[in-house]
């Protein structure tokens, strides 16, 4: 018997060798063509991420902001998130996606073209990397949805519904889509090496600056600093913050556009930075104001989520820990002290958390970037120039956003008027703008 098996050894070995060689050569032949194929794992994850990010707006932002306003404005606030979800979906489909990710020809450094308007380029077979184009489009759509929804917090309690739709509709085309193109769509910031994994500039600095400008242009709420404007239901805000935190895994880990180690690391650093920021804000408040508050801890968590957004695919856990803690403290200072020092009424601290958090996160990405994780080194790995490149991205976004937002606001003011009248503001927007109340 043994003799029989022994005699088979040589032919078996030869066959194994030939088979392996064949396989390897096939692989090489395929590799030479370099055509990405649909990866069902990546696709499944991206479909899930899209749903997670949509949950961040409805009901995440809706509840987060809704709980913070007075009861008479609750419906108005959640309406803003819901209506913008609908409006932005349409705008993105019609022209937003094309301007963000299309080919702008001679202007491609600054804006995409109209080649992808109405998503006419898209079929079930169209791929974007290893995932269907349709999934990529809608994933990006959820980002285009949440960014204007965040802006609403700055002018809470005092903006007309019609003005809000006009302002943010135009804003998404004139500010959001181009800045997206600059960073991810082939524009100049991406080609200059700005690191923004999931939208620190595109989403957070953008919404923070737009919010600040809007808060200043609309002016302070009637009774600001004298009337009791305490949040009417912080439990609702906690629910919203929870949706934001969990959904953010889709926001950050989903920005890997793949189900792989990069996505896993992005999720890990997101969790670490968020927890660090929440604890940092909590303790800062405990020490400086006397009591650790619920509003404080959820605000700290969101600040951490914002700050880790540009860094999620580039930093390691240690970097995330420090980044989160710094963001928690700086955003606490911005929301509690800076706002009162400068005197603007950024009602729900959109600039304090998203604007400042985005700036801090973008800068610290340049500090903590690890080549082994995201392909680029930061300051700590001996590449201080990255911080300057990050600064370029920050400044470009701030300038364009501030100027364009101001102009759009002024035009909308001329068309329909931005602010509700005093009586409406005092009585409450729910009843006057929407004819509905919560009892």
């Amino acid at each position: 018997m043994r003799l029989f098996y022994k005699s088979l050894c040589k032919p078996m070995g030869l066959m194994a060798f030939i088979w392996t060689a064949l396989l390897l050569s096939m692989d090489t032949a395929l590799g030479a063509e370099a055509k990405p194929k649909l990866d069902s794992g990546d696709t499944a994850w991206m479909l899930t991420s899209t749903a997670l990010v949509l949950l961040m707006t409805i009901p995440g932002v809706a509840f987060f902001y809704g709980g913070m306003v007075r009861k008479k404005n609750l419906l108005t606030t959640v309406m803003q998130s819901f209506a913008l979800t609908c409006l932005m979906s349409i705008i993105w489909m019609v022209i937003g996606y094309s301007l963000a990710f299309g080919n702008g020809g001679g202007f491609n450094a600054f804006v995409g073209g109209l080649d992808k308007m109405f998503l006419s380029h898209m079929s079930t077979d169209t791929l974007n990397g290893t995932i269907p184009e349709s999934v990529f489009v809608i994933f990006q759509m959820t980002f285009a949805i949440i960014t204007p929804a965040l802006v609403c917090g700055a002018f809470a309690d005092r903006m007309k519904f019609s003005a809000m739709l006009l302002f943010l509709g135009a804003w998404s085309i004139i500010v959001y889509a181009p800045v997206t193109h600059w960073v991810w769509g082939g524009g100049f910031l991406g080609s200059h090496g700005v690191l923004d994994f999931a939208g620190g500039t595109v989403v957070h600095i953008n919404s923070g600056i737009a919010g600040l400008v809007a808060a200043i242009v609309l002016g302070k709420r009637y009774g600001y600093k004298t009337e009791n404007m305490a949040p009417h239901n912080l439990a609702l805000s906690v629910a919203g913050a929870a949706f934001l935190w969990v959904g953010w895994f889709g926001f950050n880990a989903g920005s890997a556009l793949a189900a792989n180690g990069g996505a896993g690391m992005a999720m890990a650093v997101t969790q670490i930075a968020t927890a660090a920021a929440a604890m940092a804000w909590l303790f800062a408040e405990w020490i400086l104001r006397g009591k650790p508050s619920v509003l404080g801890i959820v605000s700290g968590a969101v600040a951490g989520l914002v700050a880790i957004t540009p860094a999620a695919g580039f930093v390691d856990p240690m970097g995330a820990l420090i980044l989160g803690a710094v963001a928690g403290i700086v955003c606490f200072w911005a929301s509690v002290y800076l706002k009162n020092m400068l005197g603007y009424d950024d009602s729900l601290d959109v600039f304090g958390i998203h604007g400042v958090g985005g700036i801090v996160g973008a800068l610290l990405t340049g500090v903590f970037a690890v080549k082994a994780i995201g392909g680029t080194s930061g300051l700590l790995e001996g590449n201080p120039g990255q911080v300057l490149i990050q600064l370029e991205g920050i400044v470009a976004t701030i300038l364009w956003c501030a100027v364009a937002t101001f102009v759009i606001l002024k035009i909308v003011d001329g068309l329909v008027g931005l602010r509700v009248d005093e009586e409406t503001e005092i009585e409450g927007l729910d009843l006057n703008l929407h004819g509905e109340t919560v009892q």
Binding site: M229, A230, P231, S293, D349
Partner: protein, 153 residues
């Protein structure tokens, strides 16, 4: 004519801290009341107390035989200062504190007992304990049966 002369009655002893006066017998409505069944004067005892004392007060009243009461959640302040609430950068001095308003209508004879009972059950000795007021009630009707005044209580 002074109030007391027209009423023709002296104030009841022990009721020093509130005023009691029978309705003047000269008005027709008063005459009707005077002839009503089971005519004993009724009083509305209105108490503002700290919310956590509600159970203690309720137990005390039940043990006195008081049949029912109305309770509402109100906000108010007397000498007790409010709390400061802090929300991010905004501080609010909240003057109105949550209290419970208790309303019960009893017959004259029970008023002192009930008022004293509420006072001792609701007392903590700290500022913000509340107040008790006693108010005249002209008429009472039990909706289900139509009984009036004392029988309605």
């Amino acid at each position: 004519m002074s109030m007391h002369e027209s009423a023709g009655r002296a104030p009841i002893e022990g009721a020093g801290w509130f005023c009691q006066r029978k309705p003047s017998p000269m008005s027709p409505m008063a005459a009707g009341l005077a002839q009503g069944e089971g005519t004993k004067s009724m009083k509305l005892i209105l108490a503002i107390i700290k919310p956590f004392k509600l159970d203690a007060v309720r137990a005390a009243m039940t043990s006195l035989g008081v049949q029912g009461m109305t309770v509402s959640e109100v906000r108010g302040f007397g000498r007790q200062k409010g709390q400061t609430e802090i929300y991010r950068g905004a501080e609010y001095e909240v003057s109105f504190l949550p209290k419970v308003k208790l309303e019960v209508v009893v017959e004259d004879g029970m008023v002192e007992q009930v008022a004293d009972s509420i006072t001792s059950a609701a007392q903590t000795g700290k500022i913000g304990d509340g107040k008790v007021f006693v108010i005249d009630v002209e008429k009472a009707v039990r909706i289900r049966t139509g009984e009036t005044d004392g029988d309605a209580l």
